[in-house]
Amino acid sequence: MSATATDATKVDRPPALPRGWPRQRVLGYGLVCLWIVFLTGIAAYLVLAWNGELFRKYAPGYVSGLGVTLLLVAISIVLGAILSVPIAYARMSKNQVLSGLAYAYVYFFRGTPLLAQTFLVYYGVGSFRSQLEMVGLWGFFREAFNCAIFAFSLNTAAYQAEILRGAIQSVPRGQWEGAASLGLHKLQTMWKIILPQALIVALRPYGNEIILMIKGSAIVAIITVYDLMGITKLTYSRTFDFQSYVWAAIIYLIIVETLRHAVEWIERRITIHLQR
């Protein structure tokens, strides 16, 4: 007992943090002070620039804009998730043509900017007006909001298909073989064995994808959808009051940080059985 105690005293301890004011600490405190000055400056600006009339006039717009943003992202993510299943399946299939087509789809939507895709749908759909009127879809595509949902769903489907594929392929082959030897068929194996393990891997990328969509959805302001960003632009163009952008930034930051922490919390909850 005593031997281990003396050994422990001889063990190299991590070096104590330097005392006094080394260069790093001076720099660090300086930078933190800069941030404090910057953030209190913004807070002071918002307090000084507070305009009750402006707030009453435009705050409801911000709330509805936030609603539009969340609705847009929610619908696109759900539609994209549904669409991503066949794409991921095709991408993993042994059929060369099928997997090639899925690869081309994914490559196109991941290789081009979301803004270009949105423009392609919103402005480009006019080129097919007569065909669309024939099918009765013209009314759908005349709305900028619907165009945005269409483009966003296709875009996020490509990303989600890759997430799904990566997660499913991260599950070792032995799991398939084990399930097969127990007499489960393919669908049962997928549902009961593979997906629960794959979703643990996929959770973080899915969370990131939702965050990317929320941030990406700001571009619909350019095609005249009044989401949070659209309302912000409108408010700014009417009042020339810069605080409209600052408020939008605060709201976006709150949403993104909440989501990020929620994903981390869920991850901690569902990986309890993996922690030692």
């Binding site: 930078l31 081009t112 941030k215």
Partner: protein, 237 residues
Amino acid sequence: MQSVWTLLSWGPEGWLDDIAYGVFITVSLAAATLPVGLVIGFLVALAKQSDEPSLRLAGNIYTTIFRGLPELLTLFIIFYGAQIGIQQVMRLYNPTAAVEVNAFVSGMIALGVVFSSYASEVFLSAFRAIPKGQYEGGYSVGLSGWQTMQLVVLPQLIRIALPGLANLWLILLKDTALVSAIGLTDILRQAGVAARVTKHAFLFFGVAALIYLLLAIISSFGINAIERAVGRQQVQR
């Protein structure tokens, strides 16, 4: 001039020079942003892996803010914010001053801070992948802190961080499309102009999308070449 333009709008060939100019702007914006973003990202990563808690805090605030804001909002805040800020300062000297901020520089700063906040995470995870023994080895052969960083850590760091950085480059290339919203004549804006004039929107935006795709393909060839070159170094050691 007008007649020439309407004449040119017969076929897509007439617009090719404009779109090529857009490609030039897009590529030069991305290329100008890359070094800025890499340097800031590396410095922020250095701060975030330091032993000093205040430095870590400062770095984390930076990433939290610029990863959380939509890129478009960052761009607008920098574009209009800089305009208002500089104007306020100029008014102190000259009450009638009107300031126009360069869209290219604003785009470069906005994309640079977004890129650097993502790059700092890539660099940070690369820093964590380098064992402590490398620093201790550098110390034991008498290298100074800066020399250890330059001769021992950095070559390994670059190799580990390269795939992540390559990914960020592709994201940056796509994010440059946003600057069309503040009036910079990049690919998308030129395509938009062509579409509005010729009423062939699908064609021009389709061409724009394909050009972005082509740039991505060319980049991935370049990235593969760099990765192979770096990998060869590794084999020789």
